[in-house]
């Protein structure tokens, strides 16, 4: 279901200037194609624009992945050389594992957190709409702005370390973002903070579709809280889970802005992701071929997970 709303009845009464039946001057269409609403060529501008900006650009980008082009002048086709370079370069391999870690980590934590909050907010709470608004607030902020706030919080002289010192846990204080071991976890915290509210909203929408009667019936039959969740709620919100995780993974695999603002990929490449590497290779270092090859790897990974998600979703048709 889309955001459907009952059409206003005025719409139906919209005045229509009298005209002869449609297609009066055109060749008669075979009846079997049904009612024709709208001319097919209305779709042309949209189709052309999408083909040009998405498919042609992606196709050309894919082609440059097999060249040694620097961005200016001539280039040679080098075959799989750029891809071999990726798998020999520890920074780029690290970017690959970091990307997967951040995408799956943020999807898992963000969805579990979002589901718990949604379950907590579901029904009865008097202030649930205010709470929903509060939890959703981080989602609308730009990832860049969000990242700066967290950069301060994790700063060496920032609130977290000051707090740790004040409760006598001063030896736990560390330069979070400058510590190669902790930086990636810090980034994960920021990503989860920004995505939990989004998952919560999707789960709340899903939970709204679970009939109260079924839950009550299960409760009367003696099912405990966990059993009610496991056998009544969970199957009903499966589509919501599929949507929330698919979007989360696709978004998580592309993560760029927070990294640029938080660590710029550092320390020593510990938080480099595929997206930041693509940007650095192609636009900062003038290695268009190498950047395109990395982007192709990223594209393949995203398509791979998107297809898997589609498969999983299709097995549970809900409509």
């Amino acid at each position: 279901m889309t955001a459907t709303m009952q059409p206003k009845s005025e719409a139906a009464k919209a005045p229509l200037r009298g005209r002869r039946a449609p297609g009066a001057g055109e060749k008669p269409r075979p009846r079997s194609t049904g009612l024709q609403l709208g001319h097919w060529w209305w779709a042309l501008p949209g189709i052309v624009l999408v083909i040009a900006i998405h498919y042609v650009a992606t196709g050309i980008g894919g082609f440059f992945a097999f060249t040694n082009w620097t961005g200016i002048g001539s280039f040679k086709i080098v075959g799989w050389q750029n891809f071999e370079a990726i798998f020999k370069d520890p920074t780029k391999l690290g970017a690959l594992t970091n990307t997967l870690f951040l995408a799956f980590g943020s999807v898992f934590l963000g969805n579990v957190g979002g589901l718990i909050i949604a379950l907590g907010l579901n029904r009865m709470l008097k202030t649930r709409y205010i709470l929903r608004t509060l939890f959703f607030m981080p989602v609308v902020l730009s990832p860049l702005a969000t990242a700066y706030v967290w950069k301060y919080i994790f700063d060496f002289d920032g609130p977290i370390n000051v707090f740790l010192t004040s409760i006598g846990a001063g030896d736990l204080a560390k330069p979070w973002l400058a510590d190669p071991q902790w930086a990636i976890w810090t980034v994960l915290v920021v990503l989860v903070w920004g995505s939990t509210g989004f998952a919560m909203v999707i789960f709340m929408a899903g939970l709204a579709g679970v009939p109260v009667e079924v839950e009550e019936a299960a409760a009367i039959d003696g099912a405990n809280l966990w059993q009610r969740f496991r056998y009544v709620t969970l199957p009903a919100i499966r589509p919501a889970i599929a949507i929330a995780t698919t979007l989360g993974i696709v978004q998580g695999l592309r993560v760029f802005d927070p990294i640029m603002a938080l660590t710029n990929g550092g320390p020593a490449g510990a938080t480099e992701t595929l997206a930041t590497q693509v940007y650095k290779q192609a636009f900062a270092l003038g290695n268009f071929g190498g950047g395109a090859a990395l982007a192709l790897v990223l594209a393949a990974i995203i398509l791979f997970f998107a297809v898997i998600q589609q498969r999983l979703t299709r097995q549970n048709p809900e409509d």
Binding site: M1, T2, A3, T4, A11, A12, P15, L16, R19, P22, T33, L35, Q36, L37, G38, W40, W42, A43, P45, G46, I47, L49, V50, H54, V56, A57, T58, G62, F64, L121, K126, T133, L134, F135, M137, V140, L141, S142, L144, T146, Y148, V149, Y152, V162, W193, A205, E216, A219, R254, F256, M260, A261, V278, Y279, G291, A295, L296, I302, L303, A306
Partner: protein, 278 residues
Amino acid sequence: MFRYTKLTLLREIGLWVLALTFLAPFYFLVTTALKPDSEMYTTSPLALPKNPDFSNFVAVLTATGNSNVVLGLVNSIIITAGSIVGLIALGSITGYVISRSTRRWSKGAYYLFLIAIILPGQLGAVPLYMGARAMGLTGSAWGLIVLYTGMLLPLSIFLYSNFFRGLGTDYEEAATIDGASRSQIFGKVVLPMMAPATGTVTIFAGLIVWNDFFTSLIFLGGSANQTLPVAMYYYIGSLVSEWNSIFAIVIVSMVPILALFLFAQKRFIQGFSGGLKG
């Protein structure tokens, strides 16, 4: 049978505590931005400002050059508004035709758009940049409006076509019988009915364009026309760690979108949950 009990009250209190902890970053954001330089290094980051003032905001709003925040704000508004107009115009008509057409190609077109949603922009970014540069689209608001419209069109078409699929064809059939032409049907029958889908597209696309950093960084790079995120990025890059000034600019960039959200939060959240269930 489910009633408001003491346990429910406990749950409510617990969630409030969680929510306030969750929003703690906003506390640091506001208190720090109000601290004058003299207080930055002498007070605890957890403390409230002793003599709050707006000097940081004044400094941010009067900055010039690459980090002209006011110009960035204006550019962001123009680009976001222009892209939304383009996405509504092209998305509604394309989504309508491909969801209503019974021809074979329309299903193919639907999948063409669906796949385009998940194609990662980074792969096309380099060729797109070259093409845009050749056509003179880089460095201008116009160019970015065209680019954003093209990039987000699949999403817009997807939302619109799902909306039209959920909407019966009765009204349009009635209008056909009454003798309305196809453009009359679209303009006078369909257009007024699609407001909910338009709302969702506006929210989704508006938020993505407003917050986007990658595209504007590349396509406006080096020009005097910056969007807000890029202006913010450059400005903060020149500040090192003057957190009070940094937070002043972060707040300036947050206020428009946060104000819009709090004003229209119900629609906003509905747009997100409803638009995705397609």
